[in-house]
């Protein structure tokens, strides 16, 4: 229960951050990605602000085995850079560039009642489901 409440809180604050920063607006994100046009550097400031806080949080987290609510710390253990990581990243980037949506802003815009965001999110979940099917078949083979 505590775990889910903390999750709800984090999701809500994350959503507020995306709204305040303007990143829930795909046109603003595309303004950052359009480096050859009139460039809007705002997204870099969003990342900068988030990472500033994040670096401090991870410095604290690294020294702990349990979270402040007493749960196990689950930090990623992978360090290798492989084809899946890079190809997946490239594929995600192409989709991001087409619509200006990454997962978080897509979900926030859906919550704002945007029909187009609902279409994007539906296709995104379908894409994730396709991934699951491919992975399961691979595991069987």
């Amino acid at each position: 229960m505590k775990y889910s409440l903390a999750s709800l809180f984090a999701g809500l604050v994350f959503g507020f951050g995306l709204i305040v920063s303007g990143m829930a607006n795909p046109e603003k994100v595309l303004g950052f990605l359009d480096i050859a046009g009139l460039w809007d550097p705002s997204l870099a400031f969003v990342m900068g602000g988030a990472i500033l806080v994040g670096v401090l949080a991870f410095a604290v987290a690294r020294k702990r085995t349990l979270s402040f609510l007493g749960f196990n710390m689950k930090l990623p253990g992978h360090t290798h850079i492989d084809k899946r990581l890079v190809l997946g990243g490239l594929m995600f980037g192409v989709g991001w560039g087409i619509a200006g949506f990454c997962p978080g802003p897509g979900l926030v815009a859906l919550g704002a009642g945007e029909t187009k965001a609902a279409v994007f999110v539906t296709a995104m979940v379908a894409g994730m489901a396709i991934f699951e099917v491919i992975e399961r078949n691979r595991a069987k083979a």
């Binding site: 994350f14 990605l33 969003v46 349990l66 930090l75 979940v125 894409g127």
Partner: protein, 145 residues
């Protein structure tokens, strides 16, 4: 030469919003011990394990519910979605498959991964940012859409 769109550039709200995103990721990390990676949180629901569902749904409910809570206080800023429906469907499929293959998106790799100085996340972030810049260049400047 890069030309800055000064009339669109919003450094202060971007910074404040970024700090809020950082605080969200920090509270998730320090309270629950997890990385706030949105594609992973959502994607994990598609292969659900016992006891692993409620917190994912709660996080997503917070994210999706944020605009409604925001509306209790003030108006939402504009959301302009210029892509047409076919483009949105293709984009969604690419983002869905790509983020799962690459084990993360802008939040998990971009914010959390870079915050913990992970080279793997740096490689992922450079991949999707590079592909994003390239794609927008093709669409806006070569195809002229």
């Amino acid at each position: 030469m890069i030309e800055i769109a000064w009339s669109n550039f919003t450094p202060w709200s971007a910074l404040v919003g970024g700090i809020l995103i950082g605080l969200a990721a920090a509270s998730f990390l320090l309270l629950n011990g997890r990385i706030a990676g949105i594609s992973g949180i959502l994607g994990g629901l598609l292969s659900p394990a016992r006891g692993d569902i409620a917190w994912r749904v709660a996080f997503l409910a917070g994210l999706i519910g944020a605009p409604a809570v925001w509306l209790l206080a003030t108006e939402l800023p504009a959301i302009e979605i210029k892509a047409g429906y076919p483009a949105l469907i293709i984009a969604g499929l690419f983002v869905g498959i790509g983020t799962r293959y690459g084990s993360g998106c802008t939040s998990g790799h971009g914010v959390c991964g870079l915050s913990r100085l992970s080279l793997r996340s740096l490689a992922a972030t450079l991949s999707f940012m590079g592909a994003g810049f390239f794609t927008v260049y093709i669409i806006r400047h070569l195809l002229g859409v």
